[in-house]
């Protein structure tokens, strides 16, 4: 159905997409939002508390100073201290055979309590596979539960890729002058600190999967991410770290509703936006909207590397251009004033530089779009 929905929209593309202004008088709602999983130890449990905001607000309204505790049906109580604004973390002692609930007391004196939930043990990820097509490289999940018991899955990922500046940087403007000089006049090497960088991003969509309709609990080649053809992510080396969570049916349905509500395409074949009713309620006012569904599950993870050599003729091309600049104060003044960064010597007369190259800083200095600190897991 979902593909159908996308399809019809795109089929009819011939039409057009325009901006639609939201009514500016959106009310101040401020409903409590709870995100995160209770993890059985030794994994750290991290819960984030925030408030709903105006539609045009760009910042997150964290909920600070709340008392957050996990209560077991054996009357155990464990508190999660606030380790960062709105973030409550600790390592919990969870018995897989017991049920637990979450209690939150906010600074405005309201008290929230979740339903009791049991512990779900997540099976390990079998593999992350990928296929290459004209569109690019599509990454897929593969997993299975030999107990046929998990059935509902949630994933998130963190991807990292190495990339290089388009042009090596041998030169720099002499400070305070309209002139250039070698960065490393002795060895004549390029500036390595801005040549190789890493960038990363995290999943921003809710990736769900279910094997409920299959005879065994198998997730096979479920696509979750497309790296478009010729994308910079695969220009050198690419890595993705994925985490897998086993969900209950109810938790899955809650997240599925949230996904449909917020990632829908708005076609008339889309479902109506639906109310998000989770398993956390205001103790004194059950009608109050509380967004969140608390689950307890173990987390499984996996990392995958893809090297540029594994995708022959990837043909990544930066849009970078190098311009020739005559080594005179006037032209250097113009180049410097335009924000262009010197790259390398293009023409010399003896040792004198006649022409040198310049390019935009993004093309020369990779730290402008990434970090030059090599991640610990990088080979």
């Amino acid at each position: 159905m979902r593909k159908f929905v996308y399809g019809i929209l795109l089929l009819l593309v011939a039409g057009c997409k325009e901006k639609f202004d939201l009514p500016t008088d959106s009310p101040e709602t401020g409903y409590l939002v709870i995100e995160g999983f209770i993890s059985p130890g030794p994994q750290t449990t991290k819960l984030e508390l925030s408030r709903t905001n105006k539609t045009n607000a760009a910042t997150k309204r964290t909920e600070q100073g709340a008392l957050v505790q996990v209560e077991g049906d054996d009357n155990s109580v464990q508190v999660l201290p606030e380790t960062f604004a709105g973030v409550y973390t600790t390592v919990l002692d969870i018995n897989n055979n017991k049920q637990y609930r979450l209690r939150i007391k906010t600074t405005d004196g309201k008290e929230y309590l979740s339903d009791y939930v049991g512990v779900k043990v997540t099976p390990p990820i079998d593999s992350i596979s990928w296929v290459r097509s004209a569109e690019g490289v599509r990454l897929q999940f593969n997993t299975h539960d030999p107990q046929n018991d998990t059935r509902y899955y949630l994933w998130d990922y963190h991807e990292t890729w190495e990339f290089h500046s388009a042009f090596k940087s041998f030169l720099r403007y002499t400070p305070g002058q309209n002139a250039i000089e070698y960065k490393d006049p002795i060895r004549g090497l390029p500036d390595s600190s801005i040549l190789i960088c890493w960038r990363s991003s995290i999943s921003t969509s809710i990736i769900l999967g279910s094997s409920a309709k299959l005879s065994s609990d198998v997730i096979s080649r479920q696509p979750f991410l497309l790296i478009p053809a010729r994308d910079r992510k695969l220009s050198e080396l690419y890595s993705i770290y994925v985490r897998q969570y086993g969900l209950t049916k109810e938790a899955y349905e809650f997240l599925e509703k949230m996904r449909k509500n917020t990632e829908g395409t708005g076609s008339i074949f889309d479902p109506q936006p639906s109310q998000l009713i989770g398993n956390i309620h205001n103790v004194s006012n059950p009608e109050e909207v509380v967004i969140g569904f608390i689950s307890i599950c173990t987390v499984e993870d996996k990392r995958l590397f893809i090297d540029n050599s594994e995708v022959p003729q990837w043909n990544y091309r930066s849009d970078c251009m190098e311009a020739r600049v005559l080594n005179t104060p006037d032209s250097i003044d113009v180049a410097q004033g335009s924000g262009l960064v010197p790259t390398d010597v293009l023409e010399t007369f003896g040792t004198a530089i006649i022409y040198f190259g310049v390019s935009s800083s993004d093309c020369v200095d990779c730290t402008r779009t990434g970090t030059n600190i090599k991640p610990s897991f990088w080979p």
């Binding site: 929905v5 709903t52 539609t55 005879s215 349905e253 008339i268």
Partner: protein
């Protein structure tokens, strides 16, 4: 039998002042003395002498005394002598029939070049006698094709002028023999008004004596017939199609059907009008034109789901020649599934639904196909931007049986090819076929066979293929028991199915299937009790067999767990009776009652739930299995269909109606619009039938000699047990669907104003509708309430709607059409806030349907160019050139929200966001 043979000739004869001359060999010469003879004595003598047959009206000759003698004179000379110096005329035809007339003579041969059946050019009245005392069914029925001729029914010599007599027969197209359905026959003086039935049959009970029948209907020329009724008799009336003639005579005196009929909220559009209305890609589209009528809305441009007077899309009974069409859409809803070449007309009942129809809450859309040409083989073919179509029709046995065959197929691939690269692999195709055969066994018994099939198949750049189709077949037998009672017996089978297959990943390869099958039997009787009472009664029965879903693995490696939701069966039956009761010429009642019964049949497993608390899987008490096809649950009750009309004058009437409806089958869809993958569900012990009632009141006034019709209708409607869906409902492959749905109540009210000019150089209509549709969800078993249990606007609640359809005929071969529509934007649910979850800004939605998308406005334009109108030529060609959305307004089809760079952004998407030109070519042969 002389009377009988005469009528055959009179069909084609025309008056003129020429006296006749034709004589046969050998010439009989007459000798005799004629002294003081009156006409009867004179004719008797001549008959003895010549053996010829004489026709005359004794009354006309009562002052004639004949005095002369003849010796071996030919008949013509004898008559000429006898009538010398009088205004009597005579004519002798080839078969030795002699006609004596007063004033004007009779020409016994045709003028060259005058088409048979023509009714132009004559301006006086001829009288001739035929018919017999009493009515003999198997005798050839007289055919009446002339306006100014006086047709006598029964033997006047009986001189029986007291009491009433029944006149019945068919209204037919004089050229093709096709029945004219739903035409109005009325007698002004008596304020009698009836309509021909679905076979073109009419019956009138009238006082004996002379009457003028006025006849008007869709696609035919308004006409009149003069009759003198002496006894019961039959008369088939042949009328002419409204074809463009070179000398067009505008007849505007009798456009009062809208005033006369008792029915309210009924609109009929013929295919000619449908084809004039400009539509996207130029595909003449039956349902799109229905959408322009007041009270009919849809959620969006790419949707054929109709919302009639606040009803949901599944509350319309869409009938195509008695067959129920469950999905009337092709190609994602852009086109309706009816081939315009096959359709004759479409009738929409949105208020007074006749008792013979039932099973849906809002409306009946009755699409009638054409009957094949009974006289010769003809056909047509058309080429448009998206489809090509053809049809072929003709007699199987001349004048007895005919066929019509039509087909349509698409070549829409080019449309998909203009899409961005990533959609290159999409495919979409559709086709539909129609066949209709009619056969007349005897004058009293006719059989009709109708078949219909449509198929759609598409994939949208994924490995998932969707396909769906309708299949329908029906057999209808029409029989006349006598001139008071006739009946229709119909049996048929309807099927709608769809399936979804995905085979690219062998582990998850599956095929999902859904189908609905119904076998039905309908009997319908028309009984003319008296002048004042005309009864209709009958019995309908539908046996449903529904396969709510099967999910099966494809290929040996698939791990898909075969799952089949239990087959559902039910029997829906109804008996009905209605009476069209003329109390006085002004006051007319059409009262009907329909008792419908519904039985949910086993074998089936039925879940029961704890009462009063939300219906969820955890609150399920037990699952009870029923074996055998016993009745598991029975619903039923009366449905009242009453309407009345009071005519203050010929041009002003007031009508009122009350209607109730019950619906036992529900479409389930948690999307705004109708999608091909919606499922249907039968009422069961957990899902109650829907119930609706409506009161309506209307004022009808005609102006300018009835050439302008105006109407104002007001209605209020209640809907109970309409199904809505819980958030995130799982509808397909769910064997406890009742946990995912809940019932809502609805109310709808509105005013519809329409000004219509049906004929003339400039014709068309303007309508304005104010309407509201609101739903309320306060069902305690739902577990969640929408908008705190208050009334909220339905998705298709568009309060203001103005539509204008205009056609201007510049010449007989060239006309311009303009279609303009404005409506309030559809309600939507807007975000009222945002929050962060899953590393992304997400939207918090406010109350359901609390806001609206921008208003809708569109103008379309088309030119229709006909080839020349010579009747005799090999092919008739026509072109339609037009522009859809002339102003290029970007009407929002949907509004949606995405979070981009941490901020929620709204977008509106329009489908036809620019002017779309089209061209269509049609050829008839």
């Amino acid at each position: 039998m002389k009377h009988v043979s005469l009528y055959v000739m009179t069909i084609v004869c025309l008056f003129c002042t020429l006296s006749s001359s034709a004589q046969n060999d050998p010439i009989v010469l007459i000798t005799g003395e004629f002294k003081n003879l009156n006409i009867e004595q004179f004719v008797r003598q001549l008959e003895q002498a010549t053996g010829d047959t004489y026709y005359y009206n004794p009354k006309d000759f009562d002052s004639l005394v004949i005095n002369f003698s003849a010796k071996e004179k030919p008949l013509a000379e004898v008559l000429a002598t006898a009538f010398a110096n009088t205004d009597y005329q005579f004519a002798i035809d080839e078969s030795k029939q002699v006609f004596l007339t007063k004033g004007r003579g009779l020409k016994t041969t045709l003028f060259e070049g005058i088409a048979s059946g023509g009714d132009a050019g004559n301006d006086s009245t001829q009288t001739n006698r035929f018919g017999n005392a009493g009515y003999e069914a198997d005798k050839p029925v007289q055919r009446s094709s002339l306006e100014n001729k006086l047709y006598e029914i029964g033997d006047r010599s009986l001189m029986n002028v007291e009491g009433t007599a029944i006149l019945d027969g068919y209204l037919q197209d004089g050229k093709t023999g096709e029945a004219i359905i739903g035409a109005s026959i009325y007698i002004d003086k008596l304020k009698v008004n009836i309509s021909t039935d679905q076979n073109g049959y009419y019956t009138l009970t009238l006082p004996k004596g002379q009457h003028t029948l006025s006849i008007q209907g869709m696609g035919i020329k308004d006409t009149r017939r003069q009759v003198v009724l002496h006894a019961d008799g039959k008369m088939n009336i042949e009328v002419q199609q409204q074809i463009m003639t070179l000398k067009n005579v505008t007849m505007s005196a009798q456009k009062i059907n809208n005033i006369r009929s008792a029915q309210m909220g009924v609109q009929k559009i013929d295919i000619k009008t449908i084809k004039q209305v400009p539509v996207v890609f130029g595909e003449a589209d039956v349902l799109r034109v229905v959408l322009t009528l007041p009270g009919v809305k849809s959620v969006g441009e790419a949707s054929t789901g109709l919302n009639v007077r606040g009803g949901a899309a599944d509350q319309n009974l869409i009938l195509f020649n008695d067959a129920t069409i469950y999905n009337p859409a092709h190609f994602f809803g852009l086109f309706s599934a009816f081939n315009p070449e096959i359709v004759k007309d479409v009738e929409l009942y949105k208020s007074s639904v006749p008792a013979k129809f039932g099973g849906r809450l809002s409306s009946v859309i009755d699409i009638t196909g054409r009957e094949g040409n009974k006289k010769k083989v003809t056909g047509s073919a058309g080429i448009g931007l998206l489809t090509s179509r053809f049809n072929l029709e003709g007699p199987l046995i001349n004048d007895k049986s005919s066929f019509i065959l039509g087909g349509r197929t698409t070549y829409a691939k080019w449309l998909l090819n203009i899409l961005p690269d990533q959609y290159k692999n999409s495919r979409a195709s559709f086709n539909d076929f129609n066949l209709h055969i009619s056969h007349e066994f005897t004058k009293k018994t006719t059989l009709y066979v109708t078949g219909y099939m449509s198929n759609d198949r598409f994939n949208l750049n994924s490995d998932t293929f969707y396909s769906y189709g309708n299949k329908n077949i029906s057999l209808k037998l029409k029989h006349f028991f006598n001139n008071k009672l006739n009946a229709l017996f119909t049996v048929g089978y309807d099927r709608y199915d769809y399936n979804i297959t995905s085979e690219s990943n062998e582990i998850t390869a599956y095929k999902l299937g859904f189908d609905i099958n119904q076998t039905y039997l309908k009997t319908h009787f028309n009984y003319n009790l008296s002048v004042k009472h005309r009864l209709e009664f009958g019995l309908n029965s539908i046996y449903y067999k529904l396969h709510p879903g099967s999910y099966l693995p494809v290929g040996g490696k698939s791990l898909v767990l075969a799952d089949t939701v239990a087959t559902e069966q039910a029997l829906e039956s109804a008996i009905y009776l209605s009476d069209k009761y003329n109390i006085t010429p002004e006051l007319f009642f059409d009262a009907g009652v329909r008792f419908s019964f519904y039985n949910y049949l086993g074998p089936q497993t039925v879940n029961t739930y704890a009462p009063g608390i939300p219906r969820t899987e955890t609150n399920m008490l037990e699952s009870k299995s029923y074996t055998g096809s016993n009745f598991i649950k029975t619903y039923g009750g009366p449905e009242i269909r009453v309407s009345m009309r009071y005519a203050f004058s010929d041009s002003f009437s007031i009508k009122a109606g009350y209607n109730t409806q019950r619906q036992y089958i529900h479409s389930m869809s948690n999307v705004t619009s109708m999608a091909p993958t919606d499922i249907w569900k039968l009422s069961d012990p957990n899902i109650k039938p829907q119930f609706g009632d409506q009161v309506s009141l209307g004022l009808y006034k005609n102006f300018r000699a009835n050439t302008i019709e105006t109407s104002l209708e007001v209605y209020y409607k209640n809907i109970k047990n309409y199904l809505d869906y819980k958030s995130g409902a799982q509808l397909i492959m769910n064997d406890h669907v009742e946990t995912d749905v809940f019932t809502t109540r609805g109310k709808a009210y509105g005013v519809e104003v329409m000004v219509r000019k049906p004929a003339g150089k400039l014709n068309g209509w303007i309508s304005y509708t104010y309407s509201r549709t609101q739903l309320k969800m306060d069902d305690p078993i739902a577990g969640e309430v929408i908008n705190k249990g208050n009334y909220y606007p339905a998705n298709y609640d568009k309060p203001h709607d103005v539509t204008m359809i205009a056609n201007y005929r510049l010449s007989h071969r060239f006309s311009l059409s303009l279609n303009t529509t404005y409506s309030t934007g559809r309600p939507i649910t807007l975000p009222i806030g945002s929050f962060t979850y899953g590393s992304s800004i997400r939207t918090l939605y406010g109350e359901r349907n609390a806001y609206r998308i921008p208003d809708y406005f569109r103008t379309d334009f088309s030119m229709n160019i006909e080839g020349n109108h010579k009747v005799k030529q090999w092919t008739h060609n026509s072109w339609t050139i037009g522009v859809y959305n002339l102003t290029g307004r970007k009407n929002p089809y949907s509004v949606y929200f995405l979070s981009e760079n941490g901020v929620i952004k709204g977008y509106k998407l329009s489908i036809f966001g620019s002017a779309i030109p089209y061209v269509n070519f049609n050829i008839r042969f």
